[in-house]
């Protein structure tokens, strides 16, 4: 027996309640009016479920609605940009590390591993000053560059492990047939490595979506601020109605939550190749 039989249902129930209760609660709050939210004791179900808060965010002309909408566009652009650049660069480098021998390979490879051991915030101030010197503060480019620098090591590491585990015979056959190495990469390695690439892309996208301190420092107004920064600012005002705040929270949670639920297999395998070896 690995666990006493009666313990497992208890464990399953605890995992479900622990994980889902906070999410249920924010959803419940977002479906109520602000008057209902202040009831004591609280309404454990929305008495008159309403999408009014979401309609306000989606089509309202107020300051809160427009900033939530603009920052949602910003976060999508920044996450998509960071994911595409990271995955492309990491794939090219991982292929070289996994399949080629060249001078300086080991030095560079261990540098990549070393940067993974550094806490991300160790470089916060210098990165701000570099972006400031390059005139890239408060630009999409600046934010994407910083994200890519942060996510590349893990992405390259996951893809390196994945490509190293692929059988080399097919690639050799391709080379013997006269294909150039770039053709081998494109036509043989990439299709085989697709699950690893998908894992890497999802993990990168979710990490970018979760960023807060870096964009807090690197973006100064609504032209580039992502949803996370705007939501924290709204919360800090203490004047935004609780139900509306919750609806904004649900919007910020929905995208990563759907990705995590639908594509969880890729996340689990990617996280385990990324951190165990």
């Amino acid at each position: 027996m690995r666990a006493a039989a009666w313990l497992r249902p208890l464990g399953i129930a605890f995992i479900l309640v622990w994980t889902l209760l906070p999410l249920y609660w924010v959803l419940n709050t977002s479906l109520q009016t602000d008057a209902q939210v202040s009831a004591k004791p609280a309404h454990y179900l929305p008495p008159t479920p309403t999408l009014a808060n979401y309609v306000t965010l989606l089509s309202g002309s107020g300051d809160i609605s427009t900033s939530v909408r603009q920052s949602t566009i910003n976060i999508v652009i920044e996450c998509a940009g960071a994911t595409v650049v990271t995955v492309v660069l990491a794939t090219l480098a991982a292929y070289a590390f996994a399949r080629m021998r060249f001078r300086g390979r080991n030095v560079l490879f261990y540098s990549v591993l070393a940067t993974m051991a550094l806490p991300a915030y160790a470089t916060l101030i210098p990165l701000y000053r570099i972006m400031s010197a390059l005139g890239l503060v408060n630009t999409y480019t600046g934010i994407v560059l910083v994200y890519v620098s942060g996510f590349l090591p893990l992405a390259a590491w996951i893809l390196y492990n994945y490509m190293s585990s692929l059988p080399i015979a097919l690639e050799e056959a391709g080379q013997v047939d006269g294909a150039s190495r770039m053709r081998v990469l494109w036509h043989i390695v990439l299709p085989l490595a697709r699950p690893g690439i998908v894992s890497t892309a999802i993990i990168t996208f979710l990490s970018a979506w979760a960023q807060f301190l870096f964009p807090l420092v690197l973006s100064s107004d609504l032209s580039t601020q992502p949803l996370t920064v705007v939501i924290a600012a709204l919360q800090g005002r203490h004047t935004v109605p609780y139900s509306l705040m919750s609806a904004a929270g649900v919007v910020a949670v929905a995208v990563p939550a759907v990705i995590a639920i639908v594509l969880n297999r890729y996340i689990v395998s990617g996280l385990l190749t990324g951190s165990v070896k």
Binding site: M1, R2, A3, R8, G11, I15, L16, W18, T19, P22, L23, W25, T29, K40, P41, L89, A90, L92, A93, Y95, A96, M100, L108, V112, T115, A117, P119, A120, Y121, A122, T123, L124, I125, P126, I130, S149, P153, A173, V176, D177, G178, S180, M182, W209, A210, Q211, F212, L213, V217, T228, A232, Q235, Y242, S246, V253, P256, I261, N264, I267, L272
Partner: protein, 314 residues
């Protein structure tokens, strides 16, 4: 691929770009691998190693854009750091965050992993649900949980009042330091426990079933099996889970920033680093704080690996 294609291959192969080990000719300088790794190298050197070096060096300089001139001041930044009550207080808070966060996320991670160890119907769905908090932004998790901790509308106050545990609504955040830190850290534990669970679960999957069968034959109970087989053999996974928890908790920022702002009852070292650097514009002291956190992170991680990690021979 037929034999004649293979025979024809060498003449069609571009001779320059592919060094040919089989012919024994000394290959010319091969540009391709450098072209492939160059973008990565530029990012790693320019936006990771160079900035890290700047932090390391400038921690010993006065760097204040609004108060020139800058210059070498030795340990001056570190001395001022320890004379600043709000920073010292944030160090105490952060120590609490680390202890509470690492203990709780490890205990929960092991319990969740043991729950998931054997296959059962719905296991993969449960793993998909379990992953959720890992995938969500810490800031938004702060907002989500503020709905539970809130002093006027919070779920916890409502439930505790209904159960007559408390007679009127309580303020959980910003009053008592330990309560504030615990309440904030629970939100971070919610976020980091999924990864701890996966790491421990991966270690559990490597434990051969024979061991459990042998233990059962020997009449070992569930608790004895857990303490004598499961925990010792899961040590590598537990060590890595603890290290990721140490890194996350030592650098905690999002949750205290959203739930408690700059209030000294819960401010973390990372929050103070942000305030010192970007509100007081004292980059030198910010560098010193960053360096301190980095060094402590590395030392504590190494200590955990030394104490907990044992290579498991099966």
């Amino acid at each position: 691929m037929s034999a004649d294609v293979r025979a024809a291959a060498p003449t069609r192969r571009p001779p320059r770009t592919s060094p040919d080990r089989r012919t024994g000719r000394r290959p010319r300088f091969d540009v391709l691998p450098y072209a492939l790794v160059a973008p990565l190298a530029i990012f790693i050197i320019g936006l990771a190693l160079f900035p890290a070096a700047v932090t390391l060096v400038d921690a010993f300089f006065k760097v204040q854009p609004l108060n020139p001139p800058d210059g070498f001041i030795g340990l001056g930044n570190f001395v001022r750091m320890f004379q600043d009550d709000s920073i010292v207080s944030s160090m105490v808070n952060t120590a609490y965050y680390v202890v509470i966060g690492v203990v709780l996320s490890t205990v929960l991670g092991v319990l969740f992993a043991v729950t998931l160890q054997q296959r059962f119907r719905g296991r993969s769905v449960l793993i998909a649900v379990l992953i959720l908090p890992w995938a969500l932004p810490g800031v938004v998790e702060g907002i989500v949980w503020s709905g539970i901790w809130d002093s006027n509308t919070g779920l916890l106050n409502s439930v505790l009042t209904s159960l007559h545990v408390i007679s009127h609504y309580q303020v959980f955040l910003g009053q008592n330091r330990l309560v504030t830190v615990l309440v904030i850290e629970l939100v971070q534990v919610w976020q980091i426990t999924p990864l701890s669970t996966l790491l421990v679960l991966a270690a559990l999957q490597n434990i051969p079933g024979d061991l459990y069968e042998a233990a059962e034959l020997d009449g070992a109970g569930a608790w004895k099996t857990f303490t004598r087989i499961t925990v010792p053999l899961a040590r590598p996974g537990i060590a890595i889970a603890m290290v990721q928890a140490v890194i996350a908790t030592l650098n905690v920022f999002d949750q205290p920033y959203v739930l408690n702002g700059a209030a000294s009852t819960g401010a973390s070292v990372m929050e103070q680093t942000y305030f010192v650097s970007f509100q007081n514009l004292d980059f030198g002291e910010g560098y010193a704080l960053s360096l301190l956190i980095t060094v402590v992170t590395i030392l504590v991680s190494l200590a955990i690996v030394r104490i907990v990690y044992r290579a498991v021979e099966l």
